[in-house]
């Protein structure tokens, strides 16, 4: 992508140090007009720093930040026209709902009729009509959240920046707000950058998501791309906690390759440049495999084992299967009638197709400290 008119936010080779501690290394990022982009990653990965750099609360040590094609490195936060929703909402406690939403408009010295019109409009967007005069203290967490969004939208910003806005809500409300946030963003069509550490949130909300780790971008793509085709073991691990098996490439046949792990050879569709002998990590999602009492005919991968224990979840069951060589696989089975098909200690065969097998370069040693 080049710097076309459709790019609202652009970061080019942006690095950031706090004192001598580096927190961001050469981040390149482009956010298109109307896009909902999530910055996802564990705490300390640099996602909030990135957001603060765009808002102007921090200055990059190196690199340029542009909003609508204009470099804003030297523009102070109050001239950037970004709309930020803070994790703590940061609503002004000495003002009521109306004055909070009107704050940015009063600063811009708009006429009082114009202010009233735009505040009403913003409040109706977040479905808080009629609460204008309510003091902030008398609002529930969910209502405060909506006021914070209305306040940010009222100034008609270039980009909406959200810093873990749902993390202070209870689980049920969070799910509800997630749906509403998406509807709202589509309706307004505003470019949105959303910071979260919650993979489910990122997967459900985003057009594209950026997975960050240790101050670098690991991978950028649509939720499906990142989930189906992770480029690094970190991405695979962070999205969905799949099974990892380690081994080396022993065979290549056309579009398929064989990987030797322990006593088994696992077949996968061939990724690019992996040569025979390369150390690899085999990623298998718990929901991609099925359990059978005997090897199903025509199955590409069928590994025998015994059920070690079962986590019963009502609509599904999660089995931990111990293979003959001692390694373990988690397999999730959807159960229609609420009765798990297998019990602990039962011998089973785990089988899956080569298409569902992801092979990535990497060894067990290189993935230490990733919580595997």
């Amino acid at each position: 992508m080049s710097a076309s008119v459709d790019v609202d936010v652009q970061l080019r080779d942006v690095s950031m140090h706090y004192g001598s501690a580096p927190v961001l290394h050469g981040v390149d990022l482009e956010v298109c007009k109307g896009e909902f982009l999530s910055l996802l990653g564990p705490s300390g990965c640099g996602k909030t720093t990135t957001l603060n750099l765009i808002a102007g609360f921090l200055a990059p040590t190196r690199g340029t930040i542009s909003l609508r094609g204009r470099v804003v490195n030297d523009v102070p936060p109050y001239r950037r026209n970004t709309g930020m929703v803070f994790q703590s909402y940061a609503l002004f406690p000495h003002m009521n709902v109306f004055d909070n939403v009107a704050f940015g408009l009063k600063i811009r010295r708009l006429g009082s009729q114009e202010i009233t019109r735009r505040v009403k409009e913003a409040l109706s967007l977040v479905q808080l009509e009629g609460l204008d005069a309510r003091p902030i203290r008398q609002l529930s967490g969910g209502q405060q959240q909506r006021v914070a969004i209305a306040r940010a939208l009222a100034i008609d910003p270039l980009v909406l920046l959200m810093d873990e806005p749902l993390s202070n809500l209870d689980a049920q409300l969070r799910r509800q707000m997630r749906v509403e946030l998406r509807r709202l963003q589509r309706q307004v069509g505003i470019t949105t950058i959303f910071v979260t550490h919650d993979q489910e949130e990122a997967l459900t909300l985003s057009d594209r998501l950026v997975l960050m780790n240790g101050g670098r971008i690991e991978q950028v793509g649509t939720p499906v791309e990142l989930y189906r085709k992770p480029r690094t073991p970190f991405v695979a691990q962070f999205l969905g906690h799949p099974n990892f098996l380690f081994g080396e490439v022993v065979d290549r046949r056309g579009t398929k390759m064989g990987v030797r792990t322990g006593q088994h050879t696992i077949w996968a569709t061939c990724p690019d440049q992996l040569m025979v002998g390369a150390p690899v990590a085999v990623v298998l999602r718990a929901e991609s495999a099925v359990l059978r009492p005997a090897p199903p005919p025509g199955s590409e991968n069928a590994v025998p084992g015994t059920i070690d224990y079962t986590v019963y979840l009502g609509t599904s069951a999660e089995y931990e299967v111990r293979l003959a060589d001692g390694s373990r696989l988690r397999v999730v089975e959807q159960i229609a009638n609420g009765i798990p098909s297998y019990s602990d200690g039962e011998p089973v065969v785990v089988s899956w197709s080569s298409e569902d097998t992801i092979v990535l370069p990497g060894s067990r040693e290189s993935m230490k400290g990733m919580g595997l």
Binding site: A55, F57, P76, P77, Y78, R79, N81, T82, G83, M84, F86, Q87, S88, A90, L91, F92, P93, H94, M95, D99, F103, G104, I107, R108, R151, A152, I155
Partner: protein, 288 residues
Amino acid sequence: MSRGWRQRLAVGGLLAPAVVLLVLFFVLPSVDLFRLSLAWMDPQRAIHPDVSLSNYRAFAVNPYFHRMVWGSLKLTVWVACLCLLLGYPATYYMVHARSTMYRTVLYAVVVSPLLISVIVRSYGWVVLLANNGVVNGTLVALGIVHQPIRMLGTFGSVVVATVHVLLPFMMLPIASALQGLDPALERAAQNLGATPLQTFWRVTLPLSMPGVVAGTSLVIALTLGIFITPLLVAGPLQPLFAIGIYYVTLSELNFPLGAALSFVLLVFTLAVIGLASRLLGLIHRRMV
């Protein structure tokens, strides 16, 4: 026992020590003092436990006492305003200091005067401001003035020394108010387009007003009652309420009149604090 009862008992238990202390050492002596203020001293210095308003009448008609009230009021306005103007920016800077270490040092500097006796601190000002003191010595040595300026004993010296003694009482409540603010609030204001100055006027200052009101009330109460500091830097002739009470009580030994003056001061102090709070409250509402 019902829950309501247990709760009431707990509240009572928690309040009891403070209430007992306050009644024993403040309310009862105050009642006694008030009774004394209604007594009457004859020219032979014999005290008659009458019930008369003669002492209050004396206060009402004696111009010396009026000058004293006016002097104390003037001092209070000067000291409260200077403490606020000097204390607020310094406190803001202190609270916003980046490094924790540096912030701790600043706090220690602010609190440290409270660890030293007020007499020592006031004598410090005598040493500084005397005709042969440090300030005059420096001015003369630099050739800025030819003769020492008389500083000690002036109203200005009382203001300066009192501000110095009372500044921590303004800064600490403001610091606690500023510290309680979510730092995201200032960022939110700037994000919405407010310049740092607008952010200060519209968000930071209004939200720290409770600290300003608390600090100002403390400084007013302490200034109206201050006694040692003006006595040391300006002598016993300075027309101030507390010095007047000291003079009447310990030089003239007119305890009933001293008691009456103390009561007038108490009421006056409450009135000034009430007025100042109202004023700050009005300013606060205008800001919001």
